[in-house]
């Protein structure tokens, strides 16, 4: 079956003053099928959000892109602004943003913003508008009593739900959720991601960008782990979170950092995106690194690593 979104060899780098470059996304490929949820996880600053911006055509002027991101027949990387504005954003790609405080219009109430989206995207007209706005709010568990508030009067959690409600209005085939659960408590995280998952149904796809591994585990079918601009592991969620567990040492370290697991941080910090090493970017922090890691590992059998963890049933590496 044809995927909803097909990303092939996507790279994004930013030209900086002085001629240096920041490589935010490097050679990322994945397909996203209808009815599927792919969770993109990784440390802050690894390039996750830039990938989302690229898919929405929201990269700044100094960005250079390579590769392709096909949504239906349209390449999101080369589409012009008019196409993106009129037929992509909100209509074919719904965005649940990272910081709703910055996403919502500060001078208008939530109701007025919901009604505007319903008018523009769904063609709802008065007098049905009021009820439709309340229904849209309800879908994202936004309490009707707060509809007449301005964004600054909302808690972080309520603002996030308002933004989620806005994103769901267009019924877009691809839903892009960029850290949709930041600042929410666990019950709300569960409700928010469950709602996103429900929205996916059978004919839509969800790209969930998150650092919240519990949220990813809850709804993802597949997991892509991003590190220093590259996808280092791409695998089925049950195998990743359960047995046999992640294969890439970085992904394993990330899971072990959870308070319900070892609660031990990965030593060191990720490399600068301005000065990525020629070989494996994780080698400097990795206890398995050796001379082989000076070469760039390809994504083989779901992990880009020279010394991946093997299935526990197999014999351990000598």
């Amino acid at each position: 079956m044809k995927p909803v979104l097909s990303v092939q060899g996507l790279s994004v780098r930013f030209r900086m003053r002085g001629g240096s470059h920041v490589s935010a996304v490097t050679d990322v490929s994945f397909d996203l099928a209808a009815g599927e949820c792919l969770a993109l996880v990784g440390e802050s600053g690894c390039g996750k959000s830039v990938l989302a911006s690229a898919l929405l055509g929201l990269l700044p002027e100094n960005a250079e892109t390579a590769g392709s991101a096909l949504l239906g027949g349209l390449d999101l990387l080369t589409a012009d602004e008019r196409t993106l504005a009129r037929s992509v954003r909100g209509r074919r790609v719904g965005l649940v943003p990272q910081s709703p405080a910055a996403h919502l219009t500060p001078v208008r109430t939530v109701r007025s913003q919901l009604e505007e989206s319903l008018r523009e995207l769904a063609g709802v007209r008065k007098p049905a508008l009021r009820a439709a706005a309340e229904q849209a709010a309800e879908r994202a568990a936004f309490p009707a009593g707060h509809l007449d508030r301005y964004p600054h009067e909302l808690s972080g959690g309520l603002a996030q739900r308002a933004a989620t409600a806005l994103a769901l209005i267009g019924d877009a085939p691809l839903l892009l959720a960029d850290e949709p659960t930041t600042g929410l408590d666990r019950d709300l995280v569960d409700r928010t991601v469950d709602e996103l998952r429900r929205h996916v149904g059978d004919d839509r796809a969800l790209l969930l960008i998150t650092h919240d591994l519990a949220a990813a585990e809850r709804i993802a079918d597949r997991v892509a782990v991003m590190y220093a601009s590259r996808v280092v592991e791409l695998t089925d969620a049950p195998a990743f979170f359960g047995a046999p567990g992640p294969r890439h040492p970085y992904a394993r370290g990330l899971l072990d950092a959870l308070p319900e697991r070892e609660f031990t941080p990965i030593p060191g910090m990720p490399p600068e995106l301005t000065a990525l090493p020629a070989g494996c970017a994780f080698a400097a922090r990795c206890d398995r690194a050796d001379e082989a890691c000076a070469a760039l590992p390809g994504l083989v059998a779901g992990a880009a690593c020279h010394h991946p963890h093997v299935n526990v049933l197999e014999s351990p590496r000598a």
Binding site: L255, A257, L258, P259, T264, P265
Partner: protein, 220 residues
């Protein structure tokens, strides 16, 4: 000991966020305060850190009742607290390099000359290397900026740390790393901690004890 005694606080006297809340943290102890989004736990953290004047009630710091709030708090009380907020972007002056950001509390209390000796070591402790601390907030990631904000909270060696959703924006590894820095500091200096958050698993792992917002406020 840090005590909140029947504190009533909020932003509208007619409808306070909390009414008559009592909370006690023994010297050197750590308490995790759990509560859902928007319940008012950040307001409580701000009151405890002398950043928000309560409508009624007292905050007592090591036996001394708070004598002022925000910039009116006497210096020895104000500097007894180190505070880390949820959103590093909103709590960092974008014009300052991370070095200046971390040194700002020293400057504010007239101890700027100490910065050169203290800041690099503290930065290294929170995991920020030499190449990073010369940068401004827009040149670093959220996780790196929060590391700087934690260093800033520690630079005056506070007796009390108030961490308001310190790790809500951060990935698992950065979270574990910052919590370890806090715990290392507390072990060394015997500082007390109020950690506010909604992640039960995290706070139970992190703190000596946790208390739920509803139990503090009687479900109000």
């Amino acid at each position: 000991m840090l005590e909140l005694r029947s504190v009533t606080a909020g932003y509208d006297r007619a409808a306070p966020v909390m009414r008559g809340v009592d909370l006690t943290i023994a010297a050197g102890a750590s308490v995790g305060l759990l509560g859902p989004s928007g319940c008012g736990k950040s307001t409580l953290a701000r009151v405890a850190a002398l950043l928000h004047r309560p409508d009624a009630g007292q905050v007592v710091i090591d036996g001394q009742p708070a004598r002022g709030w925000r910039h009116r708090a006497p210096r020895e009380q104000r500097t007894a607290f180190g505070v880390v907020f949820q959103q590093p972007r909103l709590s960092a002056d974008p014009r300052l390099t991370l070095t200046d950001l971390i040194a700002e509390p020293l400057r504010a209390v007239g101890r700027a000359p100490e910065a050169a000796a203290v800041v690099p070591a503290l930065a290294a402790r929170v995991g920020l290397g030499k190449d990073l601390i010369g940068r401004r907030p827009h040149e670093v990631s959220d996780g790196q900026l929060q590391r700087a904000c934690l260093a800033r909270a520690l630079v005056l060696r506070p007796r009390w740390l108030i961490c308001d959703e310190m790790t809500a924006m951060l990935d698992a590894s950065t979270t574990a790393s910052l919590v370890h820095v806090v715990e290392e500091y507390r072990a060394e200096h015997g500082a007390g901690l109020l950690a506010v958050g909604h992640d039960r698993v995290l706070l139970e792992r992190w703190c000596d004890g946790t208390t739920h917002w509803d139990d503090l406020t009687g479900g109000l």
